[in-house]
C-alpha cells in the first residue's frame, strides 16, 4: 500500500490524533471544554478546529490547494489572536509529521514517498507562516485604520481640512 493510500485509509485515526494534539496546546480545563461542547455557537473555537482540520487533512491528502488555503486560514485566524508565540501557533503542522510516522507503517514506504511527504508538510508549514503573518498584519492595519478614521473624520467635520472633490461622482 502506498503512503497516500494509507493516509486515506487511516484518515480518521490520524485526524483524531491531529485534532487532539492541536487541542493539547491549551490548558487542561480548556481542553475539556473545547472537546466536550458540540454546539458550534457555544464553542466556535472547538468547532472550527474540528471541522477545518478535517477539511485541511482531506485537502492535504487530495492535494486540493483551495481547500488547504481556506481551512488553514480559518484555523490560524483564531490562533493569531490567542496566547501563543508565532512558532507555537503554527506548530500543529509539524505535529502531523510525527503522527503520520507513528500511525502508519512508516518503515514500509520508499524513500521517495517519505521525501515527498516531508516536502508537502514543509510547504504547509510555510503557507501557515504566511497566513499567520497576514492575520497579524490585518490586526495592525485595523488598529491604524481605526485611528486614522477617527482623526480624519474630526478634521473634516471641524472644517480643518478640505478634501479634493471627485469629478466622477
Amino acid at each position: 500500500m502506498s503512503l497516500v493510500e494509507e493516509l486515506k485509509k487511516k484518515s480518521s485515526k490520524i485526524l483524531k490524533k491531529w485534532q487532539d494534539s492541536l487541542i493539547a496546546s491549551y490548558p487542561e480545563d480548556t481542553q475539556h471544554f473545547l472537546k466536550k461542547e458540540k454546539d458550534k455557537f457555544a464553542n466556535p473555537v472547538g468547532y472550527i478546529f474540528k471541522n477545518e482540520l478535517e477539511r485541511l487533512y482531506n485537502g492535504f491528502v487530495d492535494e486540493d490547494q483551495d481547500k488547504i488555503n481556506s481551512s488553514l486560514t480559518e484555523i490560524i485566524r483564531v490562533r493569531a489572536v490567542q496566547d501563543f508565540f508565532p512558532s507555537a501557533a503554527i506548530n500543529f503542522i509539524l505535529e502531523l509529521k510525527e503522527i503520520i510516522k507513528n500511525e502508519t507503517n512508516w518503515e514500509s514506504f520508499s524513500i521517495e514517498e517519505k521525501e515527498a511527504l516531508d516536502k508537502k508538510i514543509t510547504s504547509l508549514l510555510l503557507l501557515a507562516f504566511d497566513i499567520y503573518e497576514q492575520c497579524r498584519q490585518k490586526l495592525y492595519d485595523l488598529r491604524v485604520h481605526e485611528v486614522k478614521k477617527h482623526v480624519m473624520g474630526l478634521l473634516k467635520m471641524a472644517n480643518l481640512v478640505y478634501e479634493i472633490p471627485d469629478p466622477t461622482k
Binding site: 480548556t30 466556535p44 496566547d83 474630526l154
Partner: protein, 547 residues
Amino acid sequence: MRPKNVPEPEELSKIDHKPPLFESWMDKKPEFKPGFYCYGAKAKNIAAVGMPNPRDWSPTDEDWKLPENWKEIFLNGMKERLEKYRSFKLFMDICVRCGACADKCHYFIGSGDPKNMPVLRAELLRSVYRKYFTTGGKLFGKLAGARELTFDVLKEIWYYLYQCSECRRCSLFCPYGIDTAEITILGRELTNLLGLNTDWIQASVANCYRTGNHIGLQPHAYKDMIEFLCDECEEVTGIRPQPQFNKKGAEILFVTPSGDVFADPGTYTCMGYLLLFHYLQEEYGFDITWSTYASEGGNFGYFTSHEMAKRLHAKIYMEAKRLGVKWILGGECGHMWRLLNQYIDTFNGPPDYLEEPVSPITGTKFEHAKGHKIVHIVEFTADLIRHNKLKLDPSRNDHLVLTFHDSCNPARGMGFFEEPRYVIKSVCRNFYEMPSNTIREQTFCCGSGAGLNAGENMELRMRGGLPRANAVKYVHEKYGVNMMACICAIDRAALPVLMQYWVPEVDITGVHELVGNALVFKNEKKRTTDLRGNPFVGAEEEQGDAV
C-alpha cells in the same frame, strides 16, 4: 524577535498543562502580554477628576508607583464595599464553583485562558476576601481558597478585571444569580483607589467631566459637527434638518453618545435622528433641543466607580433642569441605558422637576420611565410607527440583508428585545435572526464593552468578539446577511473592526440610519442613494437608462 529564554516550538507545544501537585492557579504569576491590556491612566487625567494617586504609569512597569499603604487602602475599600453592598458580600460568599458560568464568557470562549472563566476571574478577588474577611480563610489559608494580597496578586486581579466587559452573560447561567459584572465593577472601584485605571477610560472620564463628552469636543465644535451632518442629509435627501441647540423651554432634551456625532458609522445613525426630528417638526410641530453641554450619553465613569458615574451623568439632568424641558430622549446607547434606568434614581434622586414622559405625537405615556424621565429613541420611534405616524418606504433598504445584534446592556440588562426588531422590520424587508443561543438575553458581547474598545488591546477585542462574529458568519453564509444593526454606540465603534477581521462582508449600522433611509418627506428630492451614498436597488439601472 524571539526572547532568549523561550523554548523551541516542539517543547512549547508539549508543555504539560497539568498543574504540579500542591501548585494551583494561585501560584502562577501574572504575565502581561501585549494586545491584551490597555495603557495605564495618565497622571493629568486622574488628577483632573480628583481621583487618588495621579502619576504616569504602565502595566508592564516593575513599579506601579503605588502608595506605601496600598494594601491597607485596598482592603479598607473592600471592607467598606462589603458593608455597603449586600450583593457584593453575598457574591463573595455563596459561589459553590459549580462551573455553570465557566464556558459562557466570550473572552474564555475566544481565548481558552481559564482565568477568563467568570468563576475564576471572580475567584481572584474572592481568594483575597477569604483571607482577610472570613474565619476559615484566616485559619486555613490556601486550603480554604484564601491568599495574601501581594503585589503579584494585585497585578493579576487588575489584568483580568480589565479583560471583562461587564456584559453579564455569565450571570444568566448562574443558579445563584451571582452577577460577575458587579464583582468586576466593584473590583475596578478598588483598583481606582490606587490610581489604577486604563487611559482609554480615564481620559474619556476627564474629558467628559471637563468638556461634556468623552472626546473633549467643545460646544462650538459639537454644534459644527451636527451642522456638518445636516449638510450631508441635505446632499442625500434635499432636506436640511434644522436642529435646535440649548433651547430654553423646549419640550424635550435629546442626549446621545458623542460617538454618534463624530465616528462612522455612528454619524449615519445621527443623520437618521436629525432627519426623524425634522420630519416630526414639519409634520407635528415636534419641539426637541440638542445640548452642547450635556453632549454625552455614554458614561465611562461607570467603568471607574459608582461615584464617578454619578458625577458624569448628573450633568444631563442639570442641563434638563437649566433648559426647563419636560423630559429627556436618549440616543441609541448601551451602558448609558442601563445606568439611567437602573442606577440614576438611587444616584441622583428622582428628577422631580421633570415630567413623566409622554409622546407629544401619539400621547403614549412611557410609564416605565416615570422615575428617571428618560426614554430610549428606539422605544419612541417604535411607538410612532405603531401609531402610523411615519411615512416609510422599506424598499429603500432592499440593498441590505439585515441581522440584529442585541447589545448587552439594553438586552440582557433590561429586557429590551422587541422594540428594535419592530422598528427594523418596519423599515427593512430582509431580516434574519442569528441563532437563538446568541441573541436576546443570551446575546454575545461585541468584545469591547466596559471601556475595552481601545486600539492597543486589539487581540483581546478580536478573540472576545469571536463568538459574536461566528454567529454573524453563519447568517451571512446562510442568508446573505450583509449588514448588522445594533443600538449601542460602542457596538457601532467596535463591531466594524471585529467584522473586518472575522467576516469582512458584513458592515454595521444603527437602527435610526435605517429609519433615515426609509423616511419619506413631502418635499424631498428624488432619492437614489442611502445615507452612506450607496445606491438603492434599481437606482443604478435607472441612472444607466437616463444616460
